[in-house]
Symmetry: C2
Subunit: 469 residues, 2 copies
């Protein structure tokens, strides 16, 4: 059976004609204060999920909220056109947002979307503008345009929108396990990443993995007066800095045993493609008040960010940290350490290496307490995937510049969960920009990026409709 052929032009025309409505609907969504980490917002968070359900029902989806032990999941299904042979696509997103603090740094209230004129034209400023409400709306508004133009979706679609992404998605793995059959699809489409720049679309095909651990070094059984004990007993802060200070050598290489054993070097072609992107290292550094790159010597910045594993201390605390002086020797000190991992590295093997690194340096009477928070392997989507091809072609239908394939230094754990539990790949097509202030005050989404996102998803759907499952 061949697939129905749909004309894309009227879909794009509807999207353009209704774009002011798309902006208004995004603003409606942004007004719902769905802060998932704060129990005080639980009712509002659920309301944001229900808002998505209502939108999808209006577009012919069978949609509902599914309760979890945390915030509910939005699950929706559309059969696609009658008799279709096209692949089913799973669209993933999240309706929860980061807390808006610090509130005093916002130029307008975080949950009252403001339309502000800036260098790229209008932008929408609000918590969640780009992460992830605005990006969820790029495909939801594309669905709306398809529904308006042809009365149906061009392919079978399943939608999964969670409300706990900003607090580590605790309900997602058990939900995927429990609903593996219902959520089956050919590929997952995720819009939670960035374009290369406002003119150049991008598909992220590599994501670094993560090993995140909290390390506490215990020493004396209580806090001590440094005058009475200093110089004669173990000081856990002294010891912790001494040990963690050895994590990198003078060339910036991580000293955890076996750290680089399984790291694959990118191919010459891949490196050449990255070079052709013309990454502006000075601009990258200047934007954050720096001028000198650090990290492993002999590697380009994109290599360091995309293809090399790292080890960063994300937090450290011990002893007296208030104002003024207190001459205490703390009984313990704690650090949070994370390693960004690249393909082939096993997070558990890296953790084992970290343990032996620490054990080899434990001072007499010292005792480690180690807790892990994130263990996700790196992801690499095969570049010869037909779904990736469809996404590339769809973006090419909308943008004047060709899409680029990029890596991402960060991790998107859901991609690994879908891979390991549901068994299929994800395509990461995102429309954010680097300066969108994700998780920070004055988060924004460029209106031009929003429009291009809607048109792109509409076009990608047309490309997917031409495929056979």
């Amino acid at each position: 059976m061949s697939n129905t052929s749909f004309d894309l032009a009227p879909v794009l025309a509807r999207a353009e004609a209704d774009f002011d409505g798309s902006v208004q609907r995004l603003c409606d969504f942004l007004r719902i204060e769905s802060v998932s980490t704060d129990p005080a917002y639980a009712v509002k968070t659920r309301a944001a999920g229900q808002w998505v359900v209502d939108q999808l029902r209006a577009l012919g989806f069978e949609a509902g909220l599914r309760d979890t032990t945390g915030h509910p999941m939005v699950v929706a299904h559309h059969p696609g056109p009658p008799g279709t042979n096209a692949p089913r696509i799973l669209y993933y997103g999240h309706y929860d947002v980061q807390p808006p603090d610090p509130l005093d740094l916002w130029e307008s209230p975080p949950f009252e979307p403001a339309i502000v004129e800036a260098k790229h034209g209008k932008r929408i400023v609000a918590r969640g503008a780009v992460d992830d409400k605005g990006q969820v709306m790029t495909w939801l508004e594309a669905f709306r345009a398809w529904h308006a133009a042809h009365g149906t979706m061009p392919v079978p679609i399943t939608v999964l929108v969670e409300g706990e992404e900003e607090c580590g998605s605790p309900s997602l793995p058990p939900f995927l396990e429990a609903n593996r059959e219902e959520l089956q699809a050919a590929v997952c489409m995720v819009s939670d990443t960035s374009s290369w720049d406002i003119e150049t679309p991008a598909i992220t095909y590599m994501l670094r993995g993560l090993m995140y651990a909290e390390l506490t070094l215990h020493g004396p059984s209580r806090d001590l007066h440094s005058g009475m004990y200093g110089g004669a007993v173990l000081n856990p802060i002294n010891a912790l800095t001494r040990i963690l200070g050895q994590l990198h050598d003078d060339e910036g290489r991580v000293q955890i045993p076996g750290f680089y054993d399984d790291v694959a070097e990118p191919g010459a072609e891949e490196l050449a493609q990255w070079r052709s992107l013309g990454f502006d290292e000075q601009a990258f550094l200047q934007e954050i008040g720096l001028s000198t790159p650090t990290g492993e010597s002999g590697r380009s910045p994109l290599e360091r960010l995309w293809s090399r594993p790292t080890c960063d201390l994300n937090g450290i605390v011990g002893g007296y940290t208030g104002a003024g002086a207190k001459t205490v020797i703390a009984s313990h000190a704690m650090a949070k350490l994370s390693c960004r991992l690249v393909p082939n590295q096993d997070p558990n093997k890296i953790l084992a290496g970290l343990r032996s690194f620490l054990d080899a340096r434990t001072p007499p009477d010292g005792r480690w307490e180690i807790e892990t928070f994130g263990m996700s392997p790196a992801i690499r989507v095969p570049t010869d995937s037909p779904y990736l091809r469809a996404a590339i072609d769809g973006l090419g239908d909308v943008y004047e510049k060709k899409p680029v394939l990029i890596g991402c230094g960060g991790s998107i754990p859901v991609v690994g969960m879908i891979q390991s539990i549901l068994g299929f790949d994800s395509i990461l097509v995102g429309f954010g920009l680097e300066d969108d202030r994700v998780h920070s005050p004055n988060e924004k989404f460029e209106v031009r990026c929003y429009r291009n996102g809607i048109l792109s998803h509409a076009a990608i759907l047309a490309r997917l409709a031409g495929m056979s499952a």
Copy 2:
């Protein structure tokens, strides 16, 4: 002119007969919640000063509260017996106490003194029991016994009791400067230290000095997402641990340039006397849950604690320190560092050395912010002083064991201020024990130590009365 000769026996008899009253009066003093660091206690803190004034007036002192920009000073004078030629003695103490938190660890309310039976007999449990209300009361009750037995003090006495010792004595230096003439004396008597053990009295003749600095390393202009930037930019926590991890070499020697240049080695006789004290290193360590000494190799623990300078990190903080994982690269990280100094070391020279240690290791784009909080040189009271001799003899009149001369790892800044501003030495005769839980929940003072303290101060006064100014 020769001094009136006073009989000590009736003084000691009065002190013994009235000892229950001494305990009751200490409990009255302890009930006044004089927490100097918390403005909510300002009225109560002043009331504790007034309580001391009232006690001294009842004993024939001309006494009053003197206002400062902070809490008031108690100043009192007694002329001594008519026509005396004995030296004037300044008694220093403080009527303020540390905050009682954490409250839930107290076995009885911190400001309701409890008399508890333990291994050394009864003890008084309350905030301030030993630091410093109980120790102030050892000499105040000795004054009372002298007043009861002979109707006068045996020597001219000046009293100075401050209310800001627990918050760094900010008003003390200007007060000493402004009242230099009025506060002149031959020597200062301070009871804010410990006995060697419950049977062995001690005079502290060496105090380490202090150089306390807060170091902040600044890097990126804002907190960064470690996925987007990790491995390619300066991470201030990584850099801070790397730099501070080099403060000591493998033998525990401090690596600040010039750190040991001016350190005098103790003489052979002094080392022999310390060895004769029979310091129990294992018991010292066991009490705090440790078994292995650390610090400079090749030095005994008392040497390390009394005669060697140290460098300890007292606090460290940076990045995310809450529950769970946050993959942030912090824009800055801070540590609090203190050096205990020994005689001849100049705190400003050590600070200059620390600055050059840090500057030599500053990473590109890193910037230090350094604030200092304490700069006091070490103190060493000449062991041939006649006042020290009088104190040794007075203690010998009360205890069966001979007093020992000890060092102290801590600093008592007032001793340095009196030396540099008023121009005379202090004699540190203290009656605490190592396990008194100073600054901690369930602070206590052994009743036996309190009694011995009162009798000792009574006897020391008799010895001083035999001297000529």
